[in-house]
């Protein structure tokens, strides 16, 4: 029996491996390599150019004693909590309304979702205009006779972050609604029938039966909203440029400004590492719950 040559393991599936080269390079060089590089250089005193002279945690100490960073973090916290709570609640209520077998469902959904197609720049600019105190909402209400009415979030450092929140919610809730609607549609029709036969009121069915059943969708929505919160940047740039003063600064903007205008790379690296950390705090438990507990098959 003539012995064949065994196909070399390295060349098995060769075409698949060749086709996957871009993915392999992206995963290793950009994602892993880039992340490690940034974390490493966050411990250096890099200024205009990256340099490997280590200074320990000095960049982080400086970061956490910079007022602008502290304001950024505080803004992100307010913005984050607000966006998370309101996006989930409003998104769910809208989905529940649309799920009532209504007519024109497609029309309503199209209207609620279109802002999501727009960029944050466009969103920020149009809300900047609507919230303009001289021509926008404030002037309209005053024009109706309520002369002392005051609503100028973009010019008031105390509430400017809420002005941004309004725009962000307008842009995102349609998406959350769509996710929730898909979740609602995924629930067995018989659950509703059973609840009706048992005479359970609608709101109770939602609260105690449907929402717990929507756990996977809720978690997906939560993760999506959370990662978007941390990345918020363009919206602020367009709507307020971080102003008035530094009242609406956010971490992502801090990173950009440090890296590309202040020539203070070390600060940028330290700040972005902090952002990474905050995302990992959300994503790792989620990934563990989603994929860790049970082994995947197939």
């Amino acid at each position: 029996m003539p012995q064949q040559r065994r196909p070399n393991q390295l060349f098995r599936n060769l075409h698949a491996k060749v086709a996957a080269i871009p993915m392999i390079l992206t995963a290793t060089i950009v994602f892993v390599g880039g992340t490690l590089w940034t974390v490493l250089y966050s411990f250096t005193s890099s200024g205009l150019l990256p340099r490997l002279n280590f200074v320990g945690l000095a960049q982080y100490e400086r970061l956490w004693s910079t007022r602008r960073w502290l304001v950024s973090v505080e803004n992100l916290a307010i913005f984050g909590v607000g966006k998370m709570v309101f996006a989930l609640v409003i998104g769910f209520v809208l989905a529940a309304l649309l799920d009532q077998k209504i007519r024109f469902e497609n029309t309503f959904r199209t209207i609620l979702l279109y802002p999501f197609a727009l960029s944050f720049i466009v969103t920020g600019l149009v809300w900047q205009w609507i919230l303009n105190p001289d021509f926008g909402v404030q002037s309209v209400v005053r024009g109706l006779g309520w002369e002392s009415f005051s609503f100028d979030p973009l010019y008031n450092p105390d509430i400017v972050i809420y002005g941004i929140l309004i725009a962000a919610l307008w842009q995102t809730t349609g998406l959350v609604m769509c996710l929730m609607l898909a979740g609602l549609r995924g629930i067995d029709e018989d659950i509703w029938k059973a609840a009706r036969v048992d005479g359970i009121p609608m709101w109770k069915t939602y609260l105690f039966i449907v929402i717990p059943m929507m756990r996977p969708v809720l978690i997906t929505a939560l993760v999506i909203i959370a990662t978007a919160i941390v990345k918020v940047y363009d919206l602020v740039v367009a709507q307020t440029s971080g102003g008035p003063g530094i009242a609406s600064e956010v971490p992502a903007k801090y990173v950009y400004d440090m890296m590309f205008s202040s020539q203070n790379l070390g600060q940028g690296f330290a700040a972005s590492t902090m952002m990474l950390l905050s995302v990992l705090i959300v994503v790792i438990p989620w990934a563990y719950l989603e994929f860790g507990g049970r082994k995947r098959h197939g």
Binding site: H15, A16, K17, A20, P22, M23, I24, T26, A27, I29, V30, F31, G34, T35, W37, V39, P50, L94, L97, I102, N106, F108, I111, L112, L113, Y114, P115, A117, L118, S119, F120, I121, V122, L125, V126, W129, I130, N132, F135, V140, W170, L175, C178, A182, I224, K231, V237, A238, S241, P251, V255, Y256, F260, G268, F269, A271, S272, M275, L276, V279
Partner: protein, 313 residues
């Protein structure tokens, strides 16, 4: 009724039957204007008005002259419609650097978006196909990293990417930005395609292998023709995503090749000169036009795409 029945004992039985017959029968009466409906549609109407308001404001403002804007408020409809602001926004509006309007940004965005969309979808669909059907050792490791990459804030990889682009001589060029979009679009698109190809029957793939088709043969002759819907979804995600990008545009291109979003921001938020709100809104609307057209044209497919694309945040 009992009195009537008492007159004739024989009628009692018949009466009992007719009493049953008199009860509810047939379809339950339904009123179109019930309290529930008024509340439901009323709420939805009010909410819709709120969501449409910014679009309305953009449109009416862009059609007014500056004097009219100074007199009225953002919501009042234009008394005299003018297209002057649109022309100005397109061809004459000034950024800090030049005064040739948004047109330059528009064409830059086209030059960025078209190749980025094609390249990213081509690469990601191949990745997804390889991951779904030709699983090689270690493939899952790279895939897991890739998916984690979707969650890493871009800020972390911003500067390393600058270095990579500089090393290969693409920093500041449109090709560089195309590469960046291809890389950062990869996680979500790869996931999209992998899941789709996994959902196709495995026996089809096996049949094609028995028929002697190889990696590329199966991809082009079997998988591609079956995957049109998912390619359209990917197309929607990528066109809107790349067109709407701001961060990568600012970081990786030079001012003369800034994409439309960056140019728009520079026009509207430029500190010099008098604020021309009508021109600003015309410019804003112009920039939003491409994704809006994609959105309204794609309908249900957009909804299908967002669940996947949403991770981009």
């Amino acid at each position: 009724m009992a009195d009537v029945a008492a007159l004739n004992t024989a009628g009692v039985a018949a009466d009992a039957v007719s009493k049953d017959l008199a009860g509810p029968r047939g379809a339950r009466p339904r009123r179109a204007i019930s309290r529930r409906n008024v509340f439901l549609y009323g709420t939805l109407f009010v909410i819709s008005v709120y969501y449409l308001l910014p679009l309305y404001v953009m449109i009416v403002t862009s059609l007014k002259g500056m004097p009219e804007i100074r007199l009225g408020n953002v919501f009042s409809p234009p008394m005299e419609i003018t297209f002057e602001p649109w022309v100005k926004a397109w061809a004459e509006a000034c950024t800090g650097l030049n005064c040739d309007g948004l047109s330059r940004g528009f064409w830059n965005s086209v030059q960025i978006t078209v190749p980025s969309v094609i390249l990213s979808i081509a690469i990601a669909s191949l990745n997804g196909y390889a991951l779904a059907n030709w699983r090689f050792k270690g493939a899952d490791v790279f895939f897991t990293i890739l998916i984690f990459g979707a969650f890493i804030p871009y800020q972390v990889m911003l500067y390393p990417m600058v270095i990579i682009l500089r090393e290969i001589g693409l920093y500041g060029s449109l090709s560089g930005l195309v590469l960046v979009h291809t890389i950062f679009g990869m996680p979500i698109l790869t996931l999209l395609f992998r899941n789709y190809f996994t959902s196709l029957p495995e026996e089809l793939f096996k049949a094609a292998r028995v028929d002697g088709a190889g990696f590329w043969g199966i991809y082009f002759k079997i998988m591609l023709p079956m995957s049109l819907p998912i390619f359209v979804v990917a197309l929607i995600i990528q066109i809107t995503g790349i067109w709407n990008d701001f961060l990568f545009g600012v970081v990786y291109t030079r001012p003369e090749s800034y994409p439309m979003t960056v140019q728009l921001n520079n026009i509207v938020n430029s500190v010099q000169g008098v604020k021309e709100y009508n021109v600003n809104m015309a410019a804003t609307l112009l920039t939003g036009l491409v994704p809006l057209i994609v959105y309204f044209a794609s309908g249900k497919l957009f909804v299908r795409g967002i669940a996947a694309g949403a991770v981009k945040g």
